[in-house]
Assembly symmetry: D3
Homo-oligomer: 226 residues x 6
Amino acid sequence: MPNPGAIRPARILVINPNSSRTVTAAIDAAVAPLRLPSGPDITVTDLPEGPESISSQQDADCVVMPLARRIAEDSADAFVIACFSDPGLQTAREVAAGRPVMGIAEWGILRSLTLGERFGIVALSEGSVRRQRRMVRQMGLGERYAGSRPIEALAAETADEAIRIRLIAAARILIEHDGADAIVFGCAGMAPHRIAVERAIGRPVVEPCQQAVAAALGAVLLRAAP
Amino acid sequence: MPNPGAIRPARILVINPNSSRTVTAAIDAAVAPLRLPSGPDITVTDLPEGPESISSQQDADCVVMPLARRIAEDSADAFVIACFSDPGLQTAREVAAGRPVMGIAEWGILRSLTLGERFGIVALSEGSVRRQRRMVRQMGLGERYAGSRPIEALAAETADEAIRIRLIAAARILIEHDGADAIVFGCAGMAPHRIAVERAIGRPVVEPCQQAVAAALGAVLLRAAP
Amino acid sequence: MPNPGAIRPARILVINPNSSRTVTAAIDAAVAPLRLPSGPDITVTDLPEGPESISSQQDADCVVMPLARRIAEDSADAFVIACFSDPGLQTAREVAAGRPVMGIAEWGILRSLTLGERFGIVALSEGSVRRQRRMVRQMGLGERYAGSRPIEALAAETADEAIRIRLIAAARILIEHDGADAIVFGCAGMAPHRIAVERAIGRPVVEPCQQAVAAALGAVLLRAAP
Amino acid sequence: MPNPGAIRPARILVINPNSSRTVTAAIDAAVAPLRLPSGPDITVTDLPEGPESISSQQDADCVVMPLARRIAEDSADAFVIACFSDPGLQTAREVAAGRPVMGIAEWGILRSLTLGERFGIVALSEGSVRRQRRMVRQMGLGERYAGSRPIEALAAETADEAIRIRLIAAARILIEHDGADAIVFGCAGMAPHRIAVERAIGRPVVEPCQQAVAAALGAVLLRAAP
Amino acid sequence: MPNPGAIRPARILVINPNSSRTVTAAIDAAVAPLRLPSGPDITVTDLPEGPESISSQQDADCVVMPLARRIAEDSADAFVIACFSDPGLQTAREVAAGRPVMGIAEWGILRSLTLGERFGIVALSEGSVRRQRRMVRQMGLGERYAGSRPIEALAAETADEAIRIRLIAAARILIEHDGADAIVFGCAGMAPHRIAVERAIGRPVVEPCQQAVAAALGAVLLRAAP
Amino acid sequence: MPNPGAIRPARILVINPNSSRTVTAAIDAAVAPLRLPSGPDITVTDLPEGPESISSQQDADCVVMPLARRIAEDSADAFVIACFSDPGLQTAREVAAGRPVMGIAEWGILRSLTLGERFGIVALSEGSVRRQRRMVRQMGLGERYAGSRPIEALAAETADEAIRIRLIAAARILIEHDGADAIVFGCAGMAPHRIAVERAIGRPVVEPCQQAVAAALGAVLLRAAP
């Protein structure tokens, strides 16, 4: 009943707004369990116009118009913006003409609200921490926010084995010092470490791309629902 | 009690904590688009020990222990508590031994945060309005809450054609008077009216059972994810 | 079931929702200064159906209906629920038919607002900390809340001499690390240590049963007030 | 200057910071039910240096130092500042040397938190409304505050029979328009109308002097408590 | 690129991010009183790349990178972004290399906090209202925000005489219905009506370009301050 | 164009509410860059009736009426209350008959909101910390407040060279432990250390007298603006 045309299957387009192939591959692997034989197609792509890493507000802002154009021109049934700054989320919704657009920060954080009383975010850098504080305030979720702690790495480095120890250390400070009881990964590239960090810290860890794609999946299936 | 063997397909159990068959049928129809050939089984059931309608805090509290027992004894992979009071949600999570338990108020509200700046809830009664204010504060979402407006009906009546006009009227007051720009239905029984109300008011209307089951679907698919 | 005749003096019933006699005795001693020759009778009782200690949300939820029945059947003029989870407070108010029902967490916290800028709660366990965060949000008092710190003990142990050192340590962390300037005891059983802890830390310490019974006393005296 | 000897009974001094005898008399009558044969003496007095009515911030500020002197010089065991601006409450606590000082706005509002989800205040004037918004923010209770509505009267007029209709009208707007479900009287002079307004509107109405004196009574009885 | 030599006097560059000359002229007139014989030069310019009016989030986002380039390339000592969406404010600060960048929404709102308890914003359209709610949450100022009311006009129309009646009507609703006691103009083009609206409504009206330029003036004068 | 009479130049009166000449001199030097050849005269004075240091709430409250009288009797065009408790700010505005009155805490904090995500205050003493928490709540700015840290000094000592090391230490704790990214000096006497502390900590440091006088300057220039 969802997909009406029957010829074209429904499709979710996941856009990694930076140009790092490593990060795109990490996202692709993370969302694999959401690909169902009968379900919508899930495509992950990068944005050639994007910077290598989104470290500053300028990096986040410079991808907004390219992202909006990409969405306006694509026939996908739903979109996921796969950068934890949720760049251009509101503009993307304007140009998507009613098709769902999900942000990974948005959905990573929303899911964490159902797993604990206070979420903490493992951030890439001190600059990301400041942007996340602004974003959490904008979402109106300050009462549930324990804080963000940086690992001081670039997005493209986050898939490295060596980064895992830093992720665990940051998550532990969020729990023991800041009072978090659920952790959100603050970069799409951290995805390969979810289970390892969860086991190490003994509290839920949310991989945000998985949550945004799961939300897009739900939205696509419910498109034509009564 | 997670998924014990490869033979049994995954299963989501949706429990309507009141004993109204009309409401159970409305939920069952609402979540039908989320049933995929290859996806988890989605079963909707009522709670024989439940009251006919959950109108008071006492009604909500009296189903908590029966609900918890039902969940502890069932081998489902995920659960949805399909009453907008989210009765016993935290206790259910304690007894579910790691299996996801989703509340419909929780997920109806979380989804609405991605559709507008301020959500409004169409409530059954003035008493529900007060409980919803308490619930929204407990969720820490007061900054995004425009308010609740009652239609003064019982849960079992909400599927009636005649109730639609009252739903539309309440939604309009929420938008025009209280500043809502997304509407959440405050009772599982209102499900059949979602599209009609959305068309009438020109703003998104969220049916909460659909959202909680979609969230359970995502959680089940991601169970074993890295 | 209000005060039926002139013969019976007014009566406040304090219910300890767990079945620990040690805790009941501690409460009884704590509220003794509020017993006046001409004032209402103050009776402290336990709840035989209650668990030995209220450590989980399930423990708190399982006493709600027994508590509600006890209140509905008793002719007391006011009630105090003497467990820091304030279990069933709203349902108790519904069944009390207009007679005051006071929660000890509620009144311990409200009193602390008049003694400092930010209150901290000495909690039994890490699990209680999470429930308290939820409760403080539900009360809408997050702006005044410094945090909770656990002593990792059972309710029945709290009256022990040996526990005092842990209470003082937790209170000190709340003050020095979390910025509290008033302390609330997060369990009825901690009552015997109030003065000792207050002297040790040099800031006000609130024993919540005393505050809830004092509030019930005021409410009973003002019952018939113009 | 705490309770010096066994001969003198405990005493609560209630200070009306304006010089209106009508208001002082209204307070005296309101707190009469809290005078117990064996309880502390409760004396109500005005402040000769005070203005006739406290309408502006200047009126409130000009009584602070006289109030502080009165408290420093008096041997009472507890004090109540009986003006809804709670003028000089923090300074009064500094000079009271450990003896409790209660504000009527503070305690009227705290009590209302236990009677409903959102309190509304019947204010004297538009100027009072603004001061009350500031006060509620300072208390950190904005999440529970429905609003204030003015009756445009002077303190000394509030005891008049004719003012009752205005109190009821303002309370009704607070409930029906602003979403209050408990009402607090915003001036000590309104005390004689409490029951009449409560009956007219069908929701709890709090007389703040009664609550502050009840709180002082509890504090005095618990002074020497363990 | 700070002040390179002693010859060039200090300069503040005010950028109207839309391409409407009418709006640029209105801003220029509004900030004239801040031009001092000995003070910094104040230049007002439009952004040729900007849209005619900033009505959608897309309009706001599309000027961010052109604005950032303009700022990076200009040798001014301080910048004002003269659009009430404060587009690109954070990115502008990153590229300004330590030179102050002020947003008009930011400073219009901050000034209003010193003129009343709750500010209301006269908005161009319903879409602006939603963006303003998001912006106020991001600023963390929700407790002081009465709301926004739209006049349904384009930026370029706002200088018209005929628009004044709508500004007054919107301001009155903000005061009488939403509880504002200070008004902020939500578009640079409304500047010519400030005094007329202030007189009509009897409460302070803030013209945001004046406030942002005044703030830039202060920042420039204090640049080299100890 | 501002001052229409041309005979008397516009004048801003900055009142240090304590009687410490050292503090008055520090303020005078701090605001010197805001004195323009063509600008308003800026006079800094102390309050002979004031205490030597404002350490307690009583100290703050005792200067309110003398300050109000000083303002009522002076013909200045704008006033700055140069004590970080902002004593009597609202009363001062009432008596100033429409002339601007600026508080240094108010403007120091507002300016910091444009320099970082969360401000921290270097306070004189633990008692000041508590008053600042109350003040920040009253301003409704809790979401942006990282905290206050005391240096345990008197106002008159703050200009000493030796105090600088304590200011830097407190600022560092605010940044590293409490999550501040902009610092506000919590006493007028700290002014001489602004640049030194800013350099030492690498984040913006706000001297509040400069900000309040800059705001007064803007308000005076815009007095007669359209």
